[in-house]
Symmetry: none
Subunit: 363 residues, 2 copies
């Protein structure tokens, strides 16, 4: 397998290291900064240094664009332009809708599927790269209805093979979820830190900031240049979230001024339930079941399956695609964890019109 990594910072470098440790892969690296890519070579994160995007992507099976969000549309376009039909292109940016839109009209755009690993956001630099950076980490994949199934298959398996947990999600849904889960907490952390810096000026400031403050503001001011970029690329969605929080804080403020301990207790209890529900829901588990289906071999079919399962909350633990020799049909195996999950997945897949030929429990 040949892998191209375009931009060898922390994420690009770690993709290279992980691929080389866990797969038989030749990694070609390109970076606009020559010193960076030389460092990546010395660290063993890439095998070959390319002088251009075109050189890097030539004959690559997969090309990862691992550059700042604002530069991704141009980089992805360049990667698509200079690569052939056999090359799948992905990226690792924190927001996905804008990029998907930018790429949609391009020739070869069906070979691009966006991605977003939840790892390493807070450090930077190829020298911090690690082969295990993605171990157990969620890695969102954002296929659209024009995405090529074979690219999704290759990308999904690559991501799983380097130890991450791929999850298909619509690009717009991804950005909305990230606004709540990640971008909004960063905004709140910033505001809390700034408010505290204004309020606490005397001995109270030196005395103790306390653990709840430290936790709640942990991400305040993280990587200004990266985060300016992330906020800008998801600005309206995040602003909507901020506005929704403003409304809820207004309610909290009124509740506080009423000063009724019982009502405040009840409010606190409902927040406890909300948090628990959110954190509980993230736990996978259970025995793996394989669903085998025969599908028509047309663009978008894999993405359609992955999205439908994702929407229903079924996690694809693994996926494999085998086109039949007539290229008109193909066999897809999907592994999910737990009997109940398998049953739901079977129902969803059947609803989409695919026959499930086998459901078998593995280990």
């Amino acid at each position: 397998m040949k892998l191209a990594v375009l931009g060898v910072g922390l994420i690009g470098g770690s993709i290279g290291l992980a691929a080389k440790r866990r797969l038989e892969t030749e990694v070609v690296g390109f970076d606009p900064d020559r010193e960076t890519v030389e460092r990546a070579l010395n660290l063993g994160a890439v095998d070959v240094v390319a002088d251009s995007v075109a050189e890097a992507v030539a004959n690559a099976d997969l090309a990862f664009c691992a550059a700042p969000v604002y530069s991704l549309p141009a980089l992805v376009a360049e990667a698509l332009e200079h690569s052939g039909e056999g090359t799948g292109v992905s990226d690792v940016g924190s927001t996905k809708a804008g990029l998907a839109e930018a790429v949609a009209g391009l020739r070869g755009g069906a070979r691009f599927i966006g991605g977003h690993p939840l790892a390493g956001a807070e450090t930077a630099g190829v020298e911090n790269s690690r082969a295990d950076l993605f171990e157990g980490a969620r890695w969102f994949l954002t296929p659209t209805d024009t995405s090529e199934g074979v690219v999704f298959d290759r990308l999904h398996n690559f991501v799983a093979d380097i130890g991450a947990r791929p999850w298909a999600i619509d690009p717009v849904d991804h950005d909305r979820a990230m606004a709540t889960i990640s971008h909004l907490p960063h905004v709140l952390a910033n505001v809390l830190a700034s408010r505290a810096a204004q309020t606490l000026t005397g001995d109270d400031r030196r005395a103790e900031v306390g653990r709840s403050f430290r936790d709640t503001t942990r991400v305040a001011g993280a990587n200004p240049s990266i985060w300016g970029d992330i906020f800008a690329s998801n600005a309206d969605v995040v602003a909507d979230e901020v506005d929704a929080v403003i409304e809820r804080l207004g309610e909290a403020s009124r509740l506080l001024r009423e000063g009724d301990a019982d009502r405040l207790s009840a409010w606190q209890a409902s927040a406890a339930e909300d948090r628990e529900a959110l954190l509980d829901s993230g736990h996978p588990g259970g025995r793996l079941f394989e669903l085998r289906l025969a599908v028509e071999n047309r663009p978008g079919v894999v993405a359609e399956l992955a999205l439908a399962l994702g929407r229903a909350g079924v996690n694809i633990e693994d996926l494999s695609l085998a086109p039949a020799s007539d290229h008109r049909t193909g066999a897809i195996s999907i592994w999910v964890a737990g009997a109940e999950e398998a049953e739901r997945a079977t129902a969803i897949v059947s609803d989409l019109g695919h026959g499930v030929s086998a459901v078998s429990g593995g280990s």
Copy 2:
């Protein structure tokens, strides 16, 4: 020395245990719930069970009122009424101004000095008491201009002798600082958890809540009955803080809608400065460094780390553990004070075979 503990839950019980371990103290315990105080006796947290407040405080050098905030004015009044001139009275409530005001007019009110240890907020019950609960913990003392110096002296020394770090602060300043440092983060955590519970309903919800979300909402919904009480007792001050945050969030929302990455970067950078200034100021040992490591999620790994650091004389200022949702790996953050300490800690952790993914100062 004779110590009276009025209310033997987690804090009262721990005061008893700490005093008995570190000082020659006879501890008399009283609790409206007879079973609780019997348990405290069995656990060795008290030497003698008293049948009433009056019996407990008779001839005591110090009496600690360790009951819920709403019941403190009556309990402190009772303790003052039934004790003689030689008895200093204190409490351990999370807010101080209202109580100080309630006590100010009482006969013997000069013998009362409020207190607030920053410890143990998240567990409850005498069975969780520990002699070392206050080890290194900040313990606010809130004398007023009518407080008796001899009581302050005795209280200050007692608090230091059981291992805590006393800090005198005006009651009103205390409550304002706590509103920012502690109560406001709790409100923001609640609102964020509730907003996310409303927004995330499908695959985004199950997919991943992420570390920034987990940290920012860690205190959401903590101890509803205790926190209803704390909020109510500091309601207007907290509401003012919430209103100030609403205003700042409004600015953030407008900045986001402008969508200018450079201005958003600058905003992010100023939040970073604010946070750093706040965290730096509280640590005489130097600036805090965070070491983040990815570790295998197996029993004993945290203890092993802590012991190795302890043996090398590196003090862990704070530690947070976040299991990945696959439960096979986890992220551990360890905070140490000072660059040199951070360097030594990094070496020790690396020797144990853990990769340190980030060492960052003040963030």
